[in-house]
């Protein structure tokens, strides 16, 4: 049985030994254990021998030691892990992010002199010649090769008799470009700062293109890439393309087109009638204009090093996840543009959490802040990639072709280039619609539905769970689950929270503004309930809440009750959560349970109350609360069994 050592007594032992004449203070086993725990939780590792020696000095001051480490990266990481464990903000590579408008594919083209050259193209690229519109800029007939949807052409394929492309045709259909992935100064008139593995590791740490992008078919360094002419377009907006030439009969056999000829004249004519030019970084621009290319240095597009019409192939060397951070990789593997996007989305949340805990910011910023931290690939995504989910032909039916973004692309600092893989830059303001983690693509994709988003926030930030009441489920035609018997026990809370996400598309981040998408849309009403809705309505308006008198947006369960939440958006949900009385206690529970390695019990009620009070009184800056926790008896006793006792399985 060990004697109880009060916190004050131990602290006194750790802080007032300066008067002792010995070089080394006599520390107890409990003190050593306490110091080891502090090192593990605040430095992320066991103490070194040198740190132990310092700890043994009479002048060692534990509180000063703690205060020096709380603002440092490892302590912030310890807090970040608490929330990442709860929110699990990462996506499996089963999820693919391959918007046609940003992915550059490539296939080999045989030239008249017999050499083979890669030609890059976008699948779906609009071209005035209907024979190649929406496809590669050379037809299978011209190439003599029918490329499959995935991978290289099998050697045994009957459709693999390459025909040389004349120089005249090559120059007519393609151009040479010095692309962003090879040149740091790709925006210059004549880029000259070509990638060099040795120097770029210092210039742009972490940026490492895969070998297949650096050398050509013969193994020589690539100085410029050949790309279909339309893809090399640098316009920021494009004239809507209305085809006036008849589409030729479909080819068959080895000359069959891989994709059909786009049929978008109706949408394009509507834009022409409205005198509008879509932005080239949007899906509308990509779908409807031959003038929209990949921009200067192909900066809007991401290359792949494979012969692959489905997935572009690998672009960078990197990792699929970084549990120890970018300085301590656990693997080195090829990342294709999709895998890269998933990694960077997750890393954005990681860096955002780190920034909040490192700077001891108001923890409510997790949900409410408009700032974030991004690297080069994320800068590319927010400038170009995010807008590729908008606007489809369905959006255009609501005159929505200039997307309103949760992260305003104009707020991305222009100095961040795509090469800045390991260089993370704060962005002070993403825009008026941004709200902490709640509007980040990783959160919106991980929790794809409105209810899933509300549910995880309810769990992680209010520490509450939806538990169905013991009520019989009766047959019901009531579409409002907040009212339906048997469902309302949970949905009366869940539906209002979900309604905050009414204006953010599910499994996506596209914002649906009120100007284009009224909560009740007369255009989408139907003569009879559950009848087929007008074209384009079903993705946005809920058939269950559509009649001759109403057609409510998806997410609206009761127009009067949900309207304020829908209009408030994710920021409104953030304000709702942080205003709940459970919020502060939940922060304490999350952090205390992680640091103590156990659930809090009724014995911890006084501690929990103290910590909650401290958190509130420090304006929700968590450091004071964390400091109080690790100086508490509970933390000191987090492992207070003697070595012998716990070997014997004893609880006391």
């Amino acid at each position: 049985m060990t004697r109880r050592i009060s916190r004050l007594a131990t602290l006194a032992a750790l802080t007032v030994m300066a008067a002792a004449p010995a070089v080394f203070a006599q520390r107890s086993l409990d003190e050593y254990r306490f110091f080891r725990s502090l090192s593990i939780d605040l430095q992320g590792r066991i103490p070194t021998r040198a740190e132990l020696t310092a700890f043994e000095q009479p002048s060692f001051n534990a509180e000063a030691w703690i205060d020096a480490r709380l603002p440092m990266g490892p302590a912030a990481e310890r807090m970040r892990v608490v929330y990442m464990d709860r929110l699990r903000l990462a996506l499996s590579t089963v999820v693919t992010v391959n918007p046609l408008g940003t992915i550059l594919r490539r296939i080999p083209v045989t030239r008249a002199n017999g050499t083979v050259e890669w030609v890059y193209f976008r699948r779906g690229q609009r071209r005035e010649d209907p024979a190649i519109d929406g496809s590669m800029c050379f037809t299978p007939r011209e190439l003599g090769v029918q490329y499959p949807t995935n991978g290289d052409v099998p050697a045994t394929s009957a459709c693999n008799t390459p025909r040389p492309i004349t120089d005249a045709m090559l120059n007519e259909r393609t151009v040479l470009v010095r692309p962003w992935w090879l040149y740091r100064d790709y925006r210059a008139a004549t880029p000259s700062q070509r990638y060099d593995a040795a120097t770029w590791q210092t210039l742009v740490p972490g940026y490492q293109p895969v070998d297949g992008l650096l050398t050509d078919q013969a193994g020589a360094p690539v100085m410029a890439v050949r790309v279909c002419r339309e893809e090399a377009g640098v316009a920021t907006t494009g004239r809507p393309f209305v085809r006036t030439v008849a589409v030729p009969p479909a080819e068959t056999g080895c000359n069959r087109r891989l994709v059909g000829v786009p049929n978008t004249n109706t949408d394009a004519m509507a834009l022409v009638a409205a005198n509008q030019r879509p932005l080239c970084s949007t899906q509308t621009g990509f779908n409807l204009s031959t003038e929209c290319g990949c921009g200067p240095g192909l900066e809007r597009c991401l290359p792949g090093a494979a012969v692959n019409n489905l997935v572009a192939g690998n672009m960078l060397q990197g990792e699929l996840r970084r549990p120890l951070g970018q300085d301590a990789p656990l693997e080195s593997t090829g990342l294709n543009p999709s895998n890269g996007a998933l990694l960077w989305w997750s890393e954005e949340a990681t860096h955002f959490l780190d920034a909040i805990f490192r700077d001891d910011r108001d923890i409510r910023d997790l949900l409410r802040a408009r700032d974030t931290v991004i690297n080069g690939p994320l800068a590319h995504f927010y400038r170009h990639g995010q807008q590729q989910s908008c606007c489809t032909t369905n959006h255009l039916k609501f005159d929505y072709n200039q997307p309103v973004n949760l992260f305003d692309p104009t707020n991305v600092p222009s100095a961040i280039l795509q090469h800045d893989v390991d260089r993370w830059t704060p962005v002070a303001n993403r825009g008026p619609l941004a709200s902490g983690l709640l509007t980040m693509p990783i959160f919106l994709s991980k929790y794809g539905t409105r209810r899933a988003r509300a549910h995880i926030l309810y769990q992680a930030f209010l520490c509450k769970e939806f538990i169905a009441p013991n009520v019989a489920l009766m047959p019901s035609n009531e579409p409002n689950l907040a009212r339906r018997t048997g469902c309302s026990g949970c949905h009366a809370t869940l539906e209002p929270m979900s309604a905050f996400y009414t204006r953010v598309s599910e499994s996506d981040w596209t914002y649906l503004p009120a100007a284009n998408f009224p909560l009740d849309n007369a255009r989408c009403r139907t003569a009879t309930p559950m009848a087929s809705m007008p074209s384009g309505c079903a993705p946005f308006y809920d058939p269950s809440f559509t009649t001759a008198a109403r057609s409510w947006m998806r997410g609206i369960y009761d127009l009067t009750a949900a309207q304020p939440n829908a209009n408030a958006g994710p920021a409104g949900l953030a304000n709702y959560i942080v205003a709940q009385p459970e919020f502060a206690g939940c922060v304490v529970d999350n952090i205390a349970e992680s640091l103590l390695g156990r659930e809090l019990t009724s014995e911890d009620t006084p501690l929990r109350t103290q910590l909650t009070t401290t958190l509130r009184s420090s304006n929700f800056r968590p450091r004071a609360m964390v400091r109080q926790l690790i100086l508490s008896d509970a933390y000191r006793r987090a492992n207070n069994l003697s070595s012998t006792a716990w070997r014997e399985g004893g609880a006391r």
């Binding site: 049985m1 109880r4 050593y32 590792r45 066991i46 549990p323 120890l324 069994l641 070595s643 070997r647």
Partner: protein, 259 residues
């Protein structure tokens, strides 16, 4: 928590006699690897006594009682384990550690990606939570990575031909006398204290009283075992096998993996 404790106990019993410092009455004999007789702890017997308050017993009126709740140890987060591991490996990055180990032996170590899940790292991509309970697979992985660490440290820091500077040694930060004769118990104890502090974070003098003797027995036995097998072992000096075994015992010690 019981599962964790008993799993940790099993680890000690099966793999390192050095973990068992204190003789207990309620034990039975067992035989571990190498024919070493060890004690197998039994669960405490059911309390057959009455619930009489202690202070009412004659002579106990003024006895100080410890009524604080007792909590067992918690597992080192896998990130902390890996950072500690890398620090002991000389501050190398994980991929460099992997490369270094595999350059010597591809059978000793596969890849971090093969191990991190077994070590309990959550995989948010697949909603796999952090593992907060020991498992047989985790123990096996701790074994494997720990042995790799010790072997690499022995080769790096106890090479008599090219001994590194003391300041650069992260594990075996002590000198050894020339020759291959095992150290005496006292000479061992001062060096063992360095390792004890390195891995467990406190002086061996504060450990259970039998710990130094048990580890010395381990060291001496293993040093002797390799006496005639110089040509078949990676350890160039006989006593290095003993130090490697001591390192194995500490890196696998529950007090290293828990806190």
């Amino acid at each position: 928590m019981k599962t964790l404790q008993w799993t940790a106990i099993s680890l000690c019993v099966s793999l390192s006699m050095a973990c068992h410092e204190e003789p207990r009455a309620n034990t039975e004999a067992g035989v571990a690897d190498g024919g070493v007789v060890v004690d197998v702890p039994q669960p405490p017997p059911p309390d057959g006594g009455s619930a009489q308050p202690l202070e009412t017993m004659p002579g106990h009126e003024n006895l100080v009682q410890d009524t604080t709740p007792k909590r067992g140890p918690r597992m080192l987060a896998v990130e902390s384990y890996l950072r500690s591991y890398m620090a002991l490996f000389g501050g190398l990055a994980p991929l460099a550690v992997q490369t270094q180990i595999r350059s010597r032996s591809t059978s000793l170590f596969d890849s971090w990606n093969d191990y991190v899940a077994a070590l309990g790292l959550p995989d948010y991509r697949f909603d796999i939570d952090r593992n907060t309970q020991m498992s047989a697979l985790m123990l096996a992985t701790l074994e494997r990575t720990g042995i790799a660490l010790c072997d690499a440290a022995v080769l790096r820091e106890l090479d008599p031909a090219m001994p590194p500077a003391m300041a650069s040694r992260t594990v075996f930060a002590f000198d050894l006398p020339a020759g291959s004769t095992p150290l005496t118990r006292d000479a061992f104890a001062t060096r063992f204290d360095v390792l004890h502090r390195t891995f467990l974070g406190y002086p061996a003098s504060l450990a259970p009283s039998t710990r130094v003797d048990r580890f010395y027995e381990l060291y001496r036995t293993q040093s002797t075992r390799y006496e005639g097998a110089m040509a078949t072992t990676a350890f160039r000096v006989r006593s290095n096998a003993g130090w490697a075994s001591v390192c194995y015992g500490l890196v696998r010690h529950p007090e290293f993996q828990l806190y």
